[in-house]
């Protein structure tokens, strides 16, 4: 078994993570967390229903931004998927999805300010990059047979629409539906930078220590996500989609001069703008690369690799919670609840809670990232395991897990984990509270200091790193002959 490529690859990842461990500061410092954590727990357990009045609109906006952003992303991704064979399209898509939604939002805040367009594009653009990739993979995997039966001379478009799309459509729809849930999360999180969604109020309440309000907001969000399938009925979707754009709010009017200024001044490196020439630019660039990009890359990679392995372990432990092979109806509902909480609670909050417990180090970051991502992978693997039919004399318990289920889901599990790899890397950006200087930390600092030229260089470095990881993941998936698309396996 140890020779099986999938197992060898997994052990390779574990080895890399172990190698990084000594460089990752995982110290636990002695603290007295219980006063603050007690307050937090009490607040979460006594949600304050009065906030609901003021937050109802934010709830509507959260859904509206998710629908519009995901719909535009899906439309854009569909078009791009058609040209995915061409490397410029492929690279472009890899580039746009390598940048975290929050950074897209920060960029668009400079151009469009607090206008709904900022939030919509911050979701739509990276999602289009993801959709393009996944759709093209789904289309590639579609049965080629119908196409062969078409008479010679059939037009390209007709060939595509009538022979390719019908077979792939269920997978496309299924994957798009899955992304809608991700869209809700992204939409809520965009509130952290000023969009009028749930995150806006969540961050406010949280930063003031109003934990009963935090509790109510989180509860609202959990319910919204957990009941997605109940209210997002297929027949209602056209209605939602058509109404959503009108429910985004008006924000502040766009000042178009800012858009051109952003591209012609803000992101142009300072030495070039001041006409100091290329030598000065090289110095400037070298300085950024050496003092920010390099340490940022090191911290980001260490954190990502350790978090990735912990995520994998946690996901393998968690998926039985929602698998019918291990749980009854009631305990499965509880399991679903646990996983919804795990994947819907913003990592930032998790990190804060764990920071209180263990003190500042990389440890809270690793565990926060792992809980969040294991919640997602566990959910998808659990769903996948439910499609497995076992013989009636199959063993139960640990043996069923080890001999029957795990071998059957391990391939899809690895595929999903590789897929989340670049996502985990992107998410390391938002853990500045822990004093971990990931690339995202430096990007955020540059934005804060209105040095968009510096931020731009660092975002480019982030994107290159992500593209590299993505390429590595794709190579591994191909080598291990894993089906690639997470939503399309079923």
């Amino acid at each position: 078994m140890i020779r099986a490529p999938a197992v060898r690859t997994s052990l390779g990842f574990v080895a890399v993570a172990l190698f990084f461990l000594p460089f990752a500061d995982l110290e636990i410092s002695a603290v007295e967390p219980w006063t603050e954590l007690g307050r937090l727990l009490l607040g979460l357990l006594t949600p304050d229903p009065t906030v609901l009045d003021s937050v109802a609109m934010a709830l509507v906006r959260t859904v509206a931004f998710a629908f519009v952003g995901v719909a535009l992303g899906a439309a854009g991704g569909f078009v791009l998927a058609l040209g995915f064979r061409h490397w410029p399209v492929r690279t472009g898509c890899a580039f746009v999805r390598a940048i975290h939604e929050l950074f897209w939002a920060l960029i668009f805040l400079q151009c469009f300010g607090l206008h709904p367009l900022t939030g919509v594009l911050a979701i739509a653009i990276p999602y289009a990059g993801v959709f393009a990739k996944v759709y093209s993979e789904i289309l590639d995997e579609a049965d080629p047979q119908p196409e062969r039966t078409l008479p010679a001379g059939t037009g390209v478009l007709a060939r595509f629409l009538f022979a390719r799309v019908p077979d792939a459509w269920p997978h496309i729809a299924s994957y798009t539906a899955y992304r809608l849930e991700c869209g809700l999360r992204s939409s809520a999180v965009l509130g952290f930078v000023g969009m009028p969604t749930l995150g806006f109020h969540l961050e406010s309440a949280f930063s003031q220590g109003l934990y009963s309000e935090v509790g109510m907001l989180l509860l609202t969000f959990y319910v919204l996500v957990a009941t997605l399938r109940l209210w997002a009925r297929p027949r209602l979707l056209p209605f939602y989609l058509l109404a959503a754009p009108f429910l985004l709010g008006s924000g502040l009017p766009i000042v178009w001069g800012n858009v051109s200024r952003f591209f012609t001044q803000d992101i142009v490196p300072a030495p070039l703008q001041d006409g100091e020439g290329w030598a000065a630019f090289a110095m400037w660039l070298g300085d950024i690369l050496a003092s920010e990009a390099l340490p940022g890359v090191i911290a980001t990679v260490i954190l990502t690799q350790i978090a990735l392995v912990v995520t994998g372990a946690l996901a393998l432990a968690a998926f039985p919670l929602v698998s019918r092979h291990f749980t009854g109806r009631i305990s499965r509902t509880v399991g679903h609840g646990i996983l919804v909480v795990a994947r819907t609670t913003p990592e930032y909050l998790l990190a804060y809670i764990l920071l209180q417990l263990w003190g500042p180090s990389m440890l809270p970051a690793v565990i926060a990232l792992a809980i969040h991502n294991a919640g997602i992978i566990g959910h998808l693997i659990g769903r996948r395991s439910n499609e497995i039919q076992l013989r009636s004399d199959a063993p139960a318990g640990v043996e069923r897990y080890g001999y029957e289920i795990l071998p059957r889901v391990y391939g899809p599990f690895l595929a999903l984990l590789f897929y989340r790899w670049e996502i985990i890397m992107r998410e390391t950006a938002i853990l500045g509270i822990l004093g971990i200087t990931t690339l995202g930390f430096y990007v955020d600092s540059a934005m804060e200091a209105i040095r968009f030229d510096v931020a731009f260089i660092l975002i480019l470095v982030t994107a290159v790193l992500n593209i590299g990881v993505d390429a590595l993941a794709r190579w591994l998936r191909r080598r291990l002959q894993l089906r690639t698309t997470p939503g399309a396996q079923s």
């Binding site: 535009l72 269920p170 729809a173 299924s174 008006s250 500042p360 509270i433 804060e448 200091a449 209105i450």
Partner: protein, 298 residues
């Protein structure tokens, strides 16, 4: 899987949504050009900011005889960006964010500061387990401990503490301390040091005083160990082009309206006793400090 199979009808729907979205986004009501929009950095009791500042907007509307609108933002940098982008014309900034805003918008002016802002301070606080005692200078004992700033863009929670740390130890914070975090805001700095998560922290003295008065701080667990010398902090800043847009003398009228604000309920939004005149030169020291620490300028 049937449900999800049908979840989207077909590409036709996507096109319809695309069209609707474009329509909604670009046809969204454009606020009348004459509305004065202002914002405030989110450093106080943020959840109440909205109602409180809406009342400030009403006050200004009456005084200036213009439509006035308050827009909440999430961060210091968002406030500066909105000001720079001319989406807001007036803002209640901190010392550092004000300097950044005025650098970014030539011609903009500091108009008024709170009575307390001429002599603002940063408090360094420490967890009881450190055994640190109040002193007239930063105690040498903080070296090697863990330390948290507030927000990256804060004057009292970042700029001034960093300045004093460098002055005292002749080294950047990440060399003085074992670990340096950014709690995000003053309230959270208190919570994190109170629990010993970070051993030392630095924050806005007014937030400390207010929280202490409200009985929200366990003073057995955390105490002030050093008070910085005074410096100029918060101020109202207005864009230089408002006279052009709202009529001659508008800047002066805004300034007068701010100075005349004497309703304690309105002043509690800031919270300040009252406003006194200020100008850009009052913040020259802040500007130089920020430049020295490489926190402004390109």
């Amino acid at each position: 899987m049937n449900l999800r199979r049908e979840i989207i009808d077909g590409p036709g729907l996507m096109v319809a949504v695309l069209a609707a979205a474009l329509l909604a986004v670009f046809a969204s009501p454009v606020a009348a050009q004459e509305t004065l929009v202002f914002t405030a950095i989110p450093d106080q009791d943020e959840t109440k900011l909205r109602e409180r500042f809406d009342r400030v907007a009403e006050y200004l509307e009456a005084e200036l005889d213009r439509d006035v609108r308050y827009v909440p933002v999430k961060s210091y940098s968002a406030a500066v960006s909105a000001f720079r982008n001319n989406q807001v014309q007036l803002a209640w900034f901190g010392g550092l964010s004000g300097v950044r805003a005025r650098e970014a918008v030539p011609g903009s002016r500091a108009l008024a500061q709170g009575e307390e802002d001429a002599r603002f301070r940063t408090y360094f606080i420490a967890h009881h387990s450190t055994g640190l005692e109040p002193a007239d200078e930063l105690p040498a004992g903080i070296e090697g401990l863990t330390f948290t700033f507030g927000s990256k863009g804060s004057t009292s929670g970042r700029l001034m503490p960093e300045f004093h740390i460098r002055q005292r130890f002749d080294a950047p914070p990440n060399e003085v301390f074992r670990r340096v975090g950014f709690s995000g805001n003053h309230t959270r700095t208190i919570a994190l040091v109170e629990s010993g998560t970070y051993q030392v922290g630095a924050l806005n003295y007014k937030v400390w005083e207010a929280q202490k008065e409200a009985g929200k701080i366990d003073t057995d667990a955390v105490k002030v160990i050093y008070r910085t010398p005074p410096y100029a902090d918060y101020q109202w800043t207005v864009r230089g082009d408002v006279d052009e847009r709202f009529g001659d003398g508008f800047t002066e009228r805004v300034q007068q309206a701010l100075l005349d604000m004497d309703d304690p309920e309105l002043l509690a939004s800031f919270p300040r006793k009252g406003f006194i005149p200020a100008d850009n030169d009052d913040y020259e020291t802040i500007r130089e400090t920020a430049r020295q620490l490489d926190l402004i300028g390109r």
